[in-house]
Symmetry: C2
Subunit: 346 residues, 2 copies
Amino acid sequence: MDKTRHITIKDVAAQAGVSIQTVSRVINNRPDVSPETRKYIQTTIDKLGYQPFANARGLAAKRTYTLGLITGDFTDIWFSHIATGAEKEAQEHGYYFFLGNSNIAPEDESRILRLLTERHVEGVLFVRANYENENDHLTHLREFGVPIVTVGYLWPDTGLAMIDVDNIGGGRQATEHLIGLGHRRIAMVTGPTKWKSVHDRTEGYLQALRKAGIPVDRALICGGGWEHRTGYENTKALLEKGKSFTAIFAHNDRIARGAAHALFEAGLKVPDDVSIIGYDDTAEAEFSDPPLTTIKQPMTEVGEAATRFLIQMIEDPAITPKQVLFDTTLVIRSSCAPVNHNRGGE
Amino acid sequence: MDKTRHITIKDVAAQAGVSIQTVSRVINNRPDVSPETRKYIQTTIDKLGYQPFANARGLAAKRTYTLGLITGDFTDIWFSHIATGAEKEAQEHGYYFFLGNSNIAPEDESRILRLLTERHVEGVLFVRANYENENDHLTHLREFGVPIVTVGYLWPDTGLAMIDVDNIGGGRQATEHLIGLGHRRIAMVTGPTKWKSVHDRTEGYLQALRKAGIPVDRALICGGGWEHRTGYENTKALLEKGKSFTAIFAHNDRIARGAAHALFEAGLKVPDDVSIIGYDDTAEAEFSDPPLTTIKQPMTEVGEAATRFLIQMIEDPAITPKQVLFDTTLVIRSSCAPVNHNRGGE
DNA sequence: GTGAAAGCGCTAACAT
DNA sequence: ATGTTAGCGCTTTCAC
């Protein structure tokens, strides 16, 4: 508990034969120190290996240089990439992230509030998909006047800053790729309906269809989960109902694999009989059988940008919350092929 | 920057008409306060919504109640499960984790040191697989006298506390399952050789073979990565060299899937011709084709236990660092079947 | 350009 | 059982 005694500003001052204040000026890069004094103090600092103690600085300056990274599920690969970018960016600006798990449950909101009240985090990065019933969660946080940047979560009227990937664009990109290959009967297996990303990818799909003059067949839209099972079961159901389709847009790579599985069981070949495009470009996509064409999202960059903006909001309270959308990239592998008109239907 | 003014202990004291010290006694649950005073102060605290500011408490008490969660790769699913357990446990004991990414590069050690020097974290949870050359990293940290608990990383003579999963046991369990099914020619596709988990799973494999009196054929041991590609390429090579084997023990589920892919290309069936057992029980395993038999590791529990022990070390410096190994579980699905003696060989 | 004094919010060590 | 006095390590006045 009571570890190695740390070197304090006092030690440095005593050693350098100056006042504590002068040392403080040096570590804060204030202009009013003579070059010689500054240099000498700096040398002393280096020699002693002194590092100012953030807590004490914060107490005096009423700053903590501390951020909260809140999410509902650490194990979500999407989150972990964002966290990677966020942590990197924070470090570069002298901030650290406290980790908080909201468990997607309002009951756990207390944990986040404790971060704000006990630790005085100066900003919160809220990384989570949009559940309708979670609105209170955030508006409650906002009452504290602490800057919040959300990723993947936007509730229209909150005026929160949001950095995310352009899911509408991604959905459109996936669908247009299929359309470009000649497909017109394109099924879509979606994620859970309450997610913003799901809503948006669906919107992109509809936009692409409309733009190409292809009528929307609601019977080809199914889904409701993020797991293999979602792709597997929904595709199987589509097949059993005798729906005709030549391509599937899956809302993530796992769903795509599940769909491929169902197709395989039904004796259908990917991409010969049915093309499949996934979403996320997870590690599995490349070595799927066949390698999966998918949509890649720049999540690390999103994490960096979100953190950068959060810090900007902290350092300039007058800044207007903004919404930024990053573009997705189409990663072409071999699960999509030109439409095969020999395959029958309905 | 200068947010809502927080309520301080002074406000509570003034409001309750007592001294600051008495309020302090109440929030620290000290015995020497009369029941009535305590109750009245508590009411005042609740009314005002007062929460002590951790930084100030820490400055006075020379504590920070802050931990460092250090890893080399946030996106590793293994890490994220540990982090989930760790965060939960820390919260329950009034600690918070600062996030730090070591990037598995000694150059980034500075980030961790900054956590220690600037923020005075009281303990470090070091979650990472064992790379030989990373020893300095940790021994350097130990010089600071800060308790360290490692997960998945043990260097024999450092005397560090380590909580992990029993990889030797897991390797043995996987291999014994195969042996129990009558397999004697069991190939193994390993992860990167420098990882402790790889070394241990291999050891478990060898132990099981020896115990069953099966001679070890070094030519059946290959690998060196964690990706699908590792399973795919090594299995393909095994096949091309004409090695005979009726089962494969893959060091993780991705490798297992890669191996299955190679087998499929060669016209071999899983499990009819070759049985495959994976490791990790990732989400992919259940919906693999066929569903993958695998070894499950209780990672969340490991994260909890590691954090619990870290806090114990902080609160009782006299405690002896210990090593704890958690047991794995065999998850039987359908990628393993009794050996098929009809399949030829070498 | 530099230093002395005061204080951030809290706890420790004494008082009483 | 309660209050007073220091002081944690630093920054912010305001002197000089």
